[in-house]
Amino acid sequence: MSSDVNSLLTQAENRYLKPEELQEFKRHTSTLAQRLKIYEFLRDREAVIFEPIVEKLQTAFPEAQQPLVEKSLQHWILIMRHCAMAMLLDDTDYLKNNVLDWLRGFVKTRQSQTIETKIHELLLARLQEMLSPKAMIYLEDNLNLAKDTLLANSD
């Protein structure tokens, strides 16, 4: 659950929630059906989403070592799965807490920033082809956050 909805639990320790407090929870549940639909779409079409990305990536980096490209692709498959979960849970911190800090070290050591940037670009474009703008709203921010975090200079 999102941290906002979670904090409602603390507030509701001794009393029922006030109408304005319940609004956040209503917003969370009213969009749940739509978020579930998008989640299932992403899950069922995972291969279809990534197939053209894999092809275009290999064309863009013909000289790159295959294991390095594969590993970077694995990062973004992982990120995509976590973005879908973050959307379902409506949790803005989910991605950061579970996967971005973890992946950043790999990108820095393997020096795969250029490849990662390209995958992010291709992934966004591919999702925009397949999803409505309304659906993209649930995913775009997290995908951009992932890219910014992975490529941030940390020293």
Binding site: E46, A47, F50, E51, V54, L57, Q58, Q66, V69, E70, L73, Q74, I77, L78, R81, N97, N98, V99, D101, W102, G105, F106, T109, R110
Partner: protein
Amino acid sequence: MIEIDDLLKQTQLPGNYFAFNSYVRGDLELGLLENRRGDRILALPDTLVRAIYKGLEQETGQAARLVLFNCGRWWGKHFYVRFCEEIAEYYHQPLGSMEMIQFTQCLQQCWKTHGWGTLDIDGSYNQQGFLLIKTTHSPFSQEAPEWKRPVCYLEAGLFSIFFSQLTGRDLHCVQTTCQSLGADYNCFIVGLSDRLKAAEAMVDENQDHDTILRQLCQQKSG
């Protein structure tokens, strides 16, 4: 040629085993906090850490440092075994075939999730035979009494045995900077035991980290 089906066939991608939400679990009915493998974990209040240091100082005086270091070594020995078991099992990879970056990332995340602060490994002196470990927000540097010297003996003990077991060499660990003394981070030098003996004496003389490291590196070529 990379085939997407091959990539996706791996049902599990290398995610963060130590992610807090997945790693920390509990049977609250029985008052147990556990990790995802079912090993018991504990939340330690800072006052208890303080009490341990104070109590040791009172009873053993200067020997407290050695006691803490040896506790750290005992802790580290078992921590190393458990840590390696957990990650080998989760990532379906024997340690020998795991990339070093994956191993160190796991260690960093493990450190964070347990609330021991942050941990960074600096390999820039590997050629000279030394590994630098930098930690911040150590509960031990925060709660130790003012001994006017680096105080993270538990961690130093842990690092000495952890990296000894990892490398199969007899390694020692000396802390050269400490947040309790106002430094930005706690710095530990890990290296062969007989080479680091000199470092202990230099820390006693309040020499700074850069001087100590320079002297240690000169030792080899000298």
